[in-house]
């Protein structure tokens, strides 16, 4: 493996470790939506980070879905969030599935 390819592999692995943790945080916060006002704030925070980082590490679908979630969470629109969260969940699962 070339130096550049190895560098990219290491960086993607770095992001995927974070993606796994963020997925768990999103699922936990989703479960508290409606009951805990802090849940939507946490979703916004996690989605904001993923929107910026996903595509930077080569996972553009994660960025695009995370951005939609962030917009709704920022607007505190809990009603329309679940389908967007589900789409982001799928994008993260797909990204995690790319691990060798």
């Amino acid at each position: 493996m070339s130096g550049e390819a190895e560098f990219e592999r290491q960086q993607r692995a770095r992001f995927l470790a974070r993606a796994e943790a963020d997925l768990a945080r999103l699922r936990a916060a989703s479960g508290r939506l409606g009951a805990d006002p802090a849940a939507i704030v946490e979703i916004e925070h996690v989605a904001h980070g993923l929107a910026g980082a996903g595509g930077t590490f080569g996972f553009m679908e994660v960025s695009e879905q995370a951005e939609q979630v962030e917009i709704l969470a920022e607007a505190r629109d809990a009603e329309r969030l679940p389908p967007m969260l589900a789409a982001l969940d799928r994008a993260l699962v797909a990204a995690l599935g790319s691990r060798p």
């Binding site: 560098f7 960086q11 770095r14 992001f15 974070r18 904001h48 980070g49 929107a51 910026g52 980082a53 996903g54 595509g55 930077t56 590490f57 553009m60 960025s63 951005e67 917009i71």
Partner: protein, 226 residues
């Protein structure tokens, strides 16, 4: 090249730091704006990369503060893709460039290299050497606290020498900068302006001096301590 990265996302920060270091850059990274501001004030950077959203400070505020202090280091601001207003605000605050997240690292590196290639002082409005400071926008020269009135040509000459302090400016380059195409100038015109500026600086106790490199040009340096 020395780069300061102020970014609170540890993965993005790590990626940028690793990528720049692989290219041979010296990189300092901080997650908080206050630490980044302190670093920017303490060390000479070629470029600063700053995220818009920082936990303790708005990245634009960091840019604004550095510019208010006369710090002209090139700054690239990172913003969210949809935040057009952030980009505008960042540029208006004094950032030189922006990149939206997500971004390609290759593009970030290219933009940093382009910023670092720009003549550093071109973006500075307040030049300082020794006890001489020159506010280019206000055309105001101060030696210590004392104002120093100069002619337009002398101001242009001083600015040129301050922007390239400690570097020999060829006489031909000074002529080109001070005079427009077609303007008539005598063979010793530059010497006359240098002489007058030198006298003016000496008269008010400036701690800088214009040195002559015979047959080559002039350079502005700090006088050695007595």
């Amino acid at each position: 090249m020395r780069v300061l990265v102020v970014e609170d996302d540890p993965d993005i920060s790590g990626l940028v730091v690793d990528a720049l270091k692989r290219d041979g850059a010296v990189v300092d990274a901080f997650a908080e704006g206050g630490d980044g501001l302190h670093a920017a004030r303490s060390a000479p950077y070629d470029t600063i990369v700053v995220d818009r959203r920082l936990p303790d400070m708005d990245g634009v505020e960091l840019v604004r503060r550095l510019r208010a202090e006369g710090n002209g280091v090139p700054i690239l601001i990172l913003t969210a893709r949809r935040a057009v207003a952030d980009r505008v605000e960042g540029l208006q605050a004094g950032a030189d460039d922006y990149l939206t997240k997500p971004f390609a690292v290759a593009e970030l590196k290219a933009r940093i290299a382009a910023l670092a290639r720009r003549p550093r002082a071109m973006s500075e409005n307040r030049l300082t050497l020794g006890n001489v400071s020159y506010d280019v926008t206000a055309r105001d020269v101060r030696v210590g606290q004392q104002s120093l009135p100069l002619s337009r040509r002398e101001l242009d000459l001083l600015e040129l020498l301050m922007r390239r302090a400690r570097t020999v400016m060829p006489k031909s380059a000074i002529e080109e900068r001070l005079y427009g195409l077609g303007e008539a100038l005598g063979s010793n015109t530059v010497e006359v302006h240098v002489h007058n500026l030198r006298r003016a600086l000496e008269r008010v106790g400036a701690s800088v001096q214009i040195e002559t490199r015979r047959g080559i040009g002039y350079l502005l340096t700090e006088k050695p301590a007595a």
